[in-house]
């Protein structure tokens, strides 16, 4: 199981839960799985071409997926994924 931390703007879709679990082999796979459990979440994370939106950051065990393999970054049991709005700080 993968633990996924959900940011405030998406919690209306996860019935208020800040953390959910998913069975997934990659980030792309995780997004599909989440969308199955929480319909609509994919549209919020990805644009019409299916790419992650410009202002969405994702981290696997605290590492930005852009330093890994982006959406193709593989996941294994026990990994923790954070979805974080990009606009913060500075």
């Amino acid at each position: 199981m993968i633990k996924v931390r959900i940011p405030t703007p998406l919690r209306p879709l996860t019935k208020g839960q800040g953390e959910v679990e998913a069975q997934a082999k990659s980030i792309a796979d995780m997004i599909e799985t989440l969308n199955g459990s929480y319909p609509g979440i994919k549209d919020r994370l990805c644009d019409e071409t299916g790419e992650l939106r410009r202002f969405v950051n994702m981290y696997v065990n605290e590492e930005d997926i852009r330093f890994l393999k982006g959406k193709e970054t593989s996941l294994k049991d026990g990994d923790e994924v954070s979805i974080v709005p990009a606009i913060a700080g500075g």
Binding site: R5, F55, E62, D64, S82, V84, A88, G89, G90
Partner: protein
């Protein structure tokens, strides 16, 4: 002044109430304050501003607070220094330094944004204020919170300069040193902000906080005698400062304080952390995040929130971006100190280094009225220059010892 209408998403245009939120829940775009410019235009004038307080609050009509009680009442209105010596050295006829090394109370431009953020946070009913910081912001939040009697949590990376750590502890906030770089701190704080009802100045209060940077544009124009500069050079960390200076200049035109904006906006980064400048130089409108490695720690944001908008503002203004090495940062700090008597922190060295580069390239021309933004004080980043400034001349307390060292003639000067 109650001139705020709403928060609006910069990407999709969805509107929200003026609460402590910073992200569009539809597209994750940044929320920005929407003003009633027609009403502001009717109320504002050069005279009203000039008769106002000697601080950022003279521009309260253009800031996202209700008022009339302002926390951080002395921030801003720092000197615009006519830099004749540095100008002559670089070959510029009219160079100015906007000197935020002497901002009140914590000697960096962050006193502007924190004054606005803490004022707004108080208006929204918060009792605890927090931030993710590369140092200067934490210092300013800690000081303002102490003065306002608010609880504070400041989160900093584990490798900050000693003076920036001490500059938090003295005000007794909760100082949280995170084992990681700023981007780690920022991600953690974004997650914490979702769990606690605190005013994180650069997260859930960010739409208001960031607006404080516009005052650097307003002051520059007013201090130049209501003229816009031809060129500005601005250090970039998240890119927010650059974006807001561009916005501030245009707002002055919108509300009728000036006729036109012809300013070219130039962004400066250090080579060891230059995601925005690198994107600009490669002609991309998006940046790739980096792992920072530079002495310019205040600018060490590898994943800059406003990188995209900074690229856009610079392109719109037909400006430029560049980066300098850590050695050039140190040289820049020394050059500014030794020509103008202003001791800047590392970010200032980045700005001066890039200014020099842009002049050499011919991007900034001799006759261009140019303003360089110096945003923090050198006494806070002494580690960066300590090995580059030499040692004092140590002598015995005797005239002989002095004269042996300096070989000064009876009427002339001399150096050792």
């Amino acid at each position: 002044m109650a001139t705020m209408k709403a928060l609006v998403c910069r990407e999709c245009g969805k509107e929200y109430p003026t609460k402590a939120i910073h992200v569009c829940e539809m597209c994750f775009g940044p929320l920005e304050v929407k003003y009633n410019y027609e009403e502001i235009k009717r109320n504002i004038s050069r005279k009203k501003i000039q008769d106002g307080p000697d601080s950022i609050w003279r521009y309260a009509d253009l800031l996202p607070v209700q008022g009339p009680t302002y926390l951080g009442p002395h921030a801003g209105m720092t000197p615009l220094v006519r830099a004749k010596n540095l100008g002559a050295f670089l070959g510029l006829d009219e160079l100015y330094i906007k000197n935020d090394t002497v901002n009140h109370p914590t000697l960096s431009f962050k006193d502007r944004v924190v004054a606005v953020a803490i004022t707004r946070a108080r208006e929204l009913g918060f009792e605890t204020i927090a931030c993710a910081s590369t140092g200067n912001l934490a210092n300013s939040v800690a000081a303002h919170a102490a003065a306002a009697g608010m609880r504070a949590y400041v989160f900093i990376p584990g490798d900050l300069e000693a003076a920036k750590v001490l500059g938090n502890l003295i005000y007794k906030p909760n100082v949280v040193e995170v084992e990681g770089n700023y981007d780690d701190v920022n991600r953690l704080c974004s997650e914490i902000a979702g769990e606690h009802g605190w005013a994180f100045v650069n997260i859930n209060i960010r739409p208001y906080y960031a607006e404080g940077s516009k005052t650097l544009a307003y002051e520059t124009v007013e201090q130049l005698g209501w003229r816009t500069p031809d060129q500005v050079v601005i250090p970039m960390a998240s890119g927010s400062l650059l974006t807001k200076i561009w916005k501030g200049l245009h707002e002055m035109k919108t509300v009728g304080l000036i006729d036109d904006v012809k300013t070219k906006i130039n962004g400066a980064q250090a080579e060891g952390c230059s995601p925005i400048s690198t994107a600009f130089k490669s002609g991309r409108d998006f940046f790739k995040p980096v792992k920072p490695k530079t002495i310019a720690k205040s600018l060490a944001i590898g994943n800059p929130a406003d990188g995209y908008y900074a690229l856009k503002a610079t392109a719109e203004s037909k400006g430029s971006m560049d980066m300098v090495s850590d050695d050039e940062v140190v040289e820049g700090i020394k050059l500014l100190a030794q020509t103008e008597g202003i001791f800047a922190e590392t970010a200032g060295g980045v700005t001066i280094g890039v200014l020099q580069k842009l002049v050499k390239q011919g991007t900034i021309k001799k006759s261009d009225v140019t303003v360089a933004y110096i945003t923090g004080n050198g006494l806070k980043t002494q580690e960066a220059v300590i090995d580059a400034v030499g040692r004092p001349h140590r002598i015995q307390p005797s005239l002989v010892s002095f004269e042996q060292t300096f070989k000064v003639g009876k009427h002339g000067g001399g150096d050792a």
